[in-house]
Symmetry: C2
Subunit: 530 residues, 2 copies
Amino acid sequence: MRWRVDLRASVSLLGTIIKYLAATMVIPLAVAVVYMEDVWVFVVSIAIAVAIGVGLERLDPEPDLGPREALVLVSISWFGVAVVGTIPYLLAGYGTQSTVGLQLPLGDGAAVILGALGSSIVNALFESMSGFTTTGATVLGEISFDRHSHALLMWRQLTQWLGGMGIIVLMIAILPELAVNGAQLMSSEAPGPELQKLTPKIAETARALWLIYLGFTVLLVILLYTLSVVGLAPEMDLYNAVAHGFTTLPTGGFSPQADSIAAFGAVVQWVIIPFMIVAGVNFALFWHLLRGEVDVMLKNAEFRTYAGAIAVITAVLSVLLFRGGAPPLELGGTTEGVTENALRQAAFQIGSLLNSTGYATADFAQWDGHTQFFLLFAMFIGGSAGSTGGGVKVIRWLVVFRAIRRELYTTARPDVVRPVRLGGQVVDEDAVRGIVVFTLLYFILLIFGAVFIMIDSARIGVELSALEAVSASLATIGNIGPGFGKLGPFGSYLFFPDSSKLLMVVLMWLGRLEIVPVLAVLVAGVEDVG
Amino acid sequence: MRWRVDLRASVSLLGTIIKYLAATMVIPLAVAVVYMEDVWVFVVSIAIAVAIGVGLERLDPEPDLGPREALVLVSISWFGVAVVGTIPYLLAGYGTQSTVGLQLPLGDGAAVILGALGSSIVNALFESMSGFTTTGATVLGEISFDRHSHALLMWRQLTQWLGGMGIIVLMIAILPELAVNGAQLMSSEAPGPELQKLTPKIAETARALWLIYLGFTVLLVILLYTLSVVGLAPEMDLYNAVAHGFTTLPTGGFSPQADSIAAFGAVVQWVIIPFMIVAGVNFALFWHLLRGEVDVMLKNAEFRTYAGAIAVITAVLSVLLFRGGAPPLELGGTTEGVTENALRQAAFQIGSLLNSTGYATADFAQWDGHTQFFLLFAMFIGGSAGSTGGGVKVIRWLVVFRAIRRELYTTARPDVVRPVRLGGQVVDEDAVRGIVVFTLLYFILLIFGAVFIMIDSARIGVELSALEAVSASLATIGNIGPGFGKLGPFGSYLFFPDSSKLLMVVLMWLGRLEIVPVLAVLVAGVEDVG
Ligand SMILES: [K+]
Ligand SMILES: [K+]
């Protein structure tokens, strides 16, 4: 019995998505016009993207999307979009010092040309995938307006905004119009099981989520720009306000500033903290909040754990920093004995790393070993289901710990049958099994990734510490962004060999899609054909 | 509904076990007589152990052991035995420079006395637990006959031999005599499910396993001593032959030589390699082998995977070493460009680390970063079920990977119902669930342990790398012994704070009992009482 899937239908709908993606390039185009930068880059990019989109759509003019096709679409769409997303990077960087720009060292041998071409394409794909998966790991090397245009950096930030929730919503908005079983897609996508019950129709749900996402983004942009207007943050111009609006809510972490949020003062940092925390909350809870159902949020087991974990870990880290966990750095300043700064640095870094945003206000890669390890621990937690956060996610940890406890209890008492409960509800055994297997798979891929990166780096003579290798693997599969050591918050992934970068592209892709859909398509494909 | 368990019955049987343990102290006593060392140490130790054993037995003169009591007995016996096992260390070291000896710095304040007393007890407990759990991590600091008596070091090696299989067999041999449900104990113990079918009666099984274990030990001792007699290994005197016989088959790794097996030549190393590999094989397979059923072994899925993994990983490591993965060290010698030594060092270290023995013939803590990482990867595999090896174990990995594949497949094809198979047999779903949960729990405890050790070391000002912290956690929960960096094969765990050592004592204990029994007793106890 073969696994029959209408691949052309899936690819055709990917074409439609790419067409929409082309439309969003109008935003960086407008930035290019305003800043009088190369307009041709985005004009050509739009033309190419539209051509690809239309071409793919033609494969199947009337795509019929069943659950299997939806699964395939989910898997390939992120990859396809990331590939198309490389076009502006490659074009804008042509003939410049850009690490992600198309480089054709003319006059050299074919091997050199192909090598340089390969590296620039790999770098562009890394940056693009890092954007659309809201990872925020970068290979730009030097982040400055001298090196990159305002327009290209705005595209970089936009990819995160689109990736965070936009593309999900885009797909949910397209699919119902095609009278497709969107529920199947939803269940293999980021939003949690509760979302489907929010409103009777998927399209309405999508619209509600989209509005909440947009609302928070607009609110943050207004707040940040207001700080600038009233003189509390002169560096926060409109460009920066929009840029950080685009990358906060998707737990993205890309910033046009090389110093990330350390480029701004304490007030900006305090404003961004709650929005980072919000980005890791199940968006369905805000929908309930808007309807006045405050109880639903306050009684939600995942929300309580998420909020509690942030509070406790921030408190402990504050104490560590207050007692001297961070050296007196140029960025971030002295925290030892300074209450406000210790608390702010702790809250910012935890708000950023726990749910996978990846912004930084201090070079935590230079903190004490134990303080760094504490951050690494926080990075294992992740955001909530139905948020834009990455990682294992809080709800999975809750189920995993309850499943472990049940297993231990029934070992001692084989006579007792006990279901796993969450918020008073019995969790379906298939869901428990799926969650436990996912979490284990996450660890296995994490270790595999770390081992591969370690050996691969040694191959080209780059010495990497175990912490650097593990954090590279964790920061990409968890869609977090920065790691430790050379790949710290103000560092770069540029030095990694191309082969490691390609693996990390796959890890970011797997991580964003919560691993299972991509591998499921692969396994079903291989087993039933092979 | 309370969890009723007859604790007094369990403790009484622990008393019986301790009485048998006292009897084994006759071996180091004999060594003390031969080497004319302090005889009183073991005379007093035996007296104390017998007193404790008899005292505990009196709690319940006619213990009635049900499955629950057996579960409790399994959990407490390893701890109780480890506690009694500290007596020779504490006595022999009294008034000497020994790190594990009772130290009473008279004349100082009470706090200083209590501190020194506490540290020496913690060290002795660490060394004893490391022995009985066949971990092989040491806090002796300096291993030499100048510092420690032949008798005490023989006790140290004997604890591993007893721990590896002896204590299991001891319990299986006692319990049937008490007409107890030994099968329940077996299923919560190291030997795999196949063992119960080996012979109709548990006692016979136990005897068969005991004879196989003893047979291999005697064979190794004879081979090693023969090498000495014929002049191929003059350093391998009878003491050393017996010492290494005691610590190879239990995948123990304690050696009376500070340089471990690097103290001996290539011939000794080549002889020990196959015995280390044998120690990680399911002993039930040798029982079939003795009956001429070669097929059973060759067709066994776990054995094939175990043998295959050793072959492949050894081959890759040989190439890495041949190409210069190890600096030209005093111990181990140059491997770069030397086929025999590269192959031997690779085979020895993999044979030792993959199944958790922990011997070393080179200071692999000084090898290249990527070569070390490769070893770390091997350390995740573990031995086979029904062997003395530690770690996750090969059969679990087989089930875990098949469960993951099934999960992925059925995500793409929700219409298909597919069991997990192993060697043509359907694996019970409860067993699959138990194995997946165990593996996840292993990773969670590993990470928790590493984080605790990292933070705890920083607390007292010891700088620890991430690799050192992770390897300390892995080497103890996996009962491996050596880690990397300061705790490498020729290093020591002495520098860790007492609190970290106590955590590692718990990790060794949990790891040896495959985590679940100990925690099950704890969870059932807490939930039903609290
Ligand atoms: K991120
Ligand atoms: K060991």
